[in-house]
Each structure stands twice: as C-alpha cells, then as structure tokens.
Amino acid sequence: MADRPAYRTWPATLAIFVALLAYVGGLQLWDRLTPSTRSLPEGQAVVVGRARFVPAEGWLMNVPRSRPGQTLVLFKNGHVFSVRTSRWLGGPEGPLERQQRLIERGRHLHVQDDVANVLTDWGLEGTTFAYYGSKVSGRFWLMVDPARALVVQVDFYGPNDATSAEGALDEARSMVASMDVEAS
C-alpha cells in the first residue's frame, strides 16, 4: 500500500462540531428562552377535537405541546393537564390497558390498583386511576365512546408537593366534570 496521503481533518471537523452545536444547541436555547404559555378566556369552554371543557382559573395553555383538533395541554404551577382526543375502533378496555402499560413501562411510574368509574356533569362515562413515582404523581381519566369511535384521554400530573398538588387535583377534577363530547 502506498503511503497515507497527508491531510488534516481537525479544522473541518471543528467547523462541523461548532455548526452542529450552534444548530441543535442554539435552536434548543432559543426555544427555551421563548415564552410558551398563552392565557385562555376565563369561564369559556375550549374545544379539543370532538371534546370540550371549561378550564379552571389560572391555567395557561402550553402552546408548543398543543395540537389543534388533537391535543390541548394546560399548565399551572408545575402541574400539567393534558387532554387528547382520537379515533378508537377497538374494545372499551384497550386504551386503559395500553395507557397503564405506557405509564408503568414507558414512564417508570406505579399505577394504583383501583380503577374507578367516572361520570361527568354532561353524562360522559369513563374510568380513572392514579399513578405515582418518586417525584411525580398524577391521575388519568379515560372516556371511551365506541358508538362514536372516540376516546378522550385526560392526563393530570405534577410534582409531589402536597400543598399545591391537592388544589391542582381539585381543579383538574372540575375540568373533567365540565367535559362533554360533540355538544353543539
């Protein structure tokens, strides 16, 4: 084999490294420095796909995590209230099992055994269960409507801070209670 052709790679490599750092890191930094919340009209219902509910006072919309027609994420004092609607063509137990698996195996949190039924003020039926971890705990509501081929998933979670968590959970419950689907 002939001698290795002599050439330096460090200037180009350094330029690539700086470009990658500036691009990926710079975008993340810019994103972090840009405010992400937006206030919602007080006392008025908001629509998420085919579901709607009335946000409690003081909850702000997390703009980048919300997708019109699919997901609405609200935020208050470190607590998150996320509503997601999607099509569902399977059995009524399917989303519950999958969600519990996601929480336990994907997020490494513990699901409490008792699954309770829930009925909203507008007659929407569903199930709910609590989950917890060393730093985070939350509650999940699932409303499956096979006739409408619809599932509404509400995930409420936040830090294990007893003082703020109890109040935030009450507000989350009131938001779920105000929920209905396809109301005109």
């Binding site: 790679t9 490599t13 690539i16 810019w30 919300s66 698996r101």
Partner: protein, 425 residues
Amino acid sequence: MSQSATSGPTPRGVRTPAPRAQAGATADIAPDVDPLGIEPFFQPKRAAFWLLSALLISGVFGIGQLLGVGLRVVPVAALLGLFAWAMYTLGFVAVFRAMDLLDQHPPAAYVLAFAWGGLGAAHLALPANNAIQSLAAKLVSPEFVVAWGPALAGPITEEFLKIVGVILLVLTARSQFRTELSVLIVGAMAGLGFQVVENLSYTVRSAITFPSDSQIDPVFWNLVTRGLLSGLWTHAAYTTVASYGLALFLFRRERTRAARVGMALLCFALAWAMHFVWNSPWMEDWFSDGLPGLTLLLLAKGMPVLFAVALIWHAATRETGAYLHALAASVVPERELLRDDEWLCLGSPLARWRVRRELGRAYGRRARRLKTRLQREQLRLVLKAGMYGRGARTSRHEMAIRRLRAKLEALTPPEGPRRPATMPP
C-alpha cells in the same frame, strides 16, 4: 473489438483495440488512476474519526432508549417493526448490490453510513426538529405548525445532519472516495439509515396511539405507506442529491473553488426543496382521502424526485464509467481477465445488465447467474487493483474470473452471442 462473451482467451498484446489503447495511454498520465493505496475507516489519528464515533455512540443510546420504550409498551409492534424494516433495508441493499454499487467500498463504509443516518443524524434531528416546531407554534400559531411544521423543520435539519455524516466519512478516509458514484452510494446509505430508523420510530409511536388494540396493523400500515409508497423518493433519494453536490465539489477540480462550493450548495438546496415539497401540505386537496387518494398524492409528489435522482445516478455512473475504463486499461490489460466487450460495458451497470439478460435468454438462468458473478468479479478486480495494485489482494478475483469463465464457456457454444445487444457510447 466485439468479442464473444464466451469465446476463448485472447493472448495478451495480440490485438489492442484503439479505444482501449487510447484509454490506457490516458490512464498512464492521469494521476487519479495511479494506485494510491487505500485507508481503512479506523483512523484514530484523525479528528473526524473521533467526532463521527462520539456522535454514533451518543446516537446508540438515544435511539436505543426510544426503541426500548417501544419494546416495553408495544413489544409485538416493536419487534415486528424491527423485523419488517430490517427486511426492507435488505431489499434496498440487494438492489444496490444488483447494480454493483456496493463494490465501490469495503462493507465498513456502508455500515458506517447507515449507522450515521440511523443513529447519529436521527438522534440529533429529534431535538432540533422539536425546537423548530415549538418555536413556530410560539411565534406563529399551533395551527401553522400542524400544517407546515414538518415542512419547516424536517428538510433543513435532516438534510444538514445527513450530509454532515457523509462529509465526516470523506474526511475520515479520503482515499476511499475515488469516484462520484462512491460518494453517492455512501450518501444513499446514510439516507436509507435515517429513513429506516425514522420509519421504525413512527411505527412504534403509531402502535402506541393506533386507534385499535392491534399491534400488527400499525406495522403493516406504516410498511405500506412509509415503506412501499414513499420509500423510493424520501431520505435515501434526498441524501443522494445532496451527496452529488459533495461529489462535484471533490472531483470537479477543473472548476474554481467558488464554482464547486456553488454546485454543492445548489445540490443541497435541491435536496432541501424536494424534502420541503414532500413534507408540505401542497396538493393534498387535489386527492381524496383513503388509500387510493393517498397513493396518487404520494406518486404525484414522488415521481419528480425519482426522475431527478435517476438523472444524477446516470451522470455519476458515466463519470465512474470513464474512470473505470481508464483504470482497467491501466491495471488489468490481460484479455483473458477482461475482454474488450466486457471492458466496454464495465462502467455501465445497464449495459452489463443487458448483456446478462441476452445471455440468459440464449443459454438459460445458470448462464446468466455465472455472467453476473463474472461481471462482479471483474469489477472488483479493477477496483481493488486500482486501490491496492495487482498482487495478493487481487489474485482471488483473478482466479474466480478464470473459474467462472471456464464454467460459462462450458455452457455456451463458441459461436454464442457475439456481442452484447447494446454497447455503451
């Protein structure tokens, strides 16, 4: 000049056809044709090697975590998806191999390129894409992101990251890249790696949110829509286009540096534009919902990309063909190893395929298979002789050629097909 593919060997130097002799003379003075020696991709003394390695290792952890969540939450979909996309990759590799494109480099080049696309680029693309979409939602609106987010974030981030990997590979082992085709195929593999890992990630995510209990349906749905209907004109195609710019920069030395940079930027812009149109909501209103409408939409968006990529492959193949002709004339003058008609077809995969097809029609499948192997061994001999010089590394190819030719001659009478159906220009 048009010798039979199966007739007896011509003694060396008895008859030198004018074009081969001229090419040989040209090769004698062309510096590119001189065996330079070739470097492996393991280059611990080069900074590019370490940056490439560090980003690949970081990608292993990042993409591994994503896949790990999938395996824990939707294990059937994740495993089936892994299998399906692995088979899909092998399909692409088989096509590349059938076109003799994989003989341009040792396997390490393709493994590294694929790994870069699937691990390095895919891992870095995730936070960058998320940040762009998040910024667009904050600065414009969430509605804008739903429609234009993928077109805004995907092309600039992903095309940039994929081509970075190809540049790092070129920096790591510059002498591995001797033709435009050798850059293009590495670019295509990097794009394929990104495409496959992205598809796998979509499959797993789709299984987590799929509107039924089935973990198998989302795999098939993604395989059909993302693999079969979109596979030919997405990432592998875009990175091929961007890599062509890099190839032009590296090999068009007769142009000024500014012109070469301009050509590279133009190809990158073309790759970006193709990706942008693909990700944009344009033309979606023209077609109905459902699989037939989706199929037509994907074809309408994809065919121009395929056409552009075919033109680029053609141009690169011609350039590589000229290089191979000159190289073969210089390093493999023996006609029992490479006859004139075979030498003429050496640089054109299509012409070689036509020869195989004609031989197959005349003498059956076995003859065609033998001719395929013979052509591949000849290509390897020429490429390796150009890289390492004639010697121990090429002797097994020389023996294989002689063995295959003897078998082929036993199958075909001496008056066999006198010349291939089509000669390259």
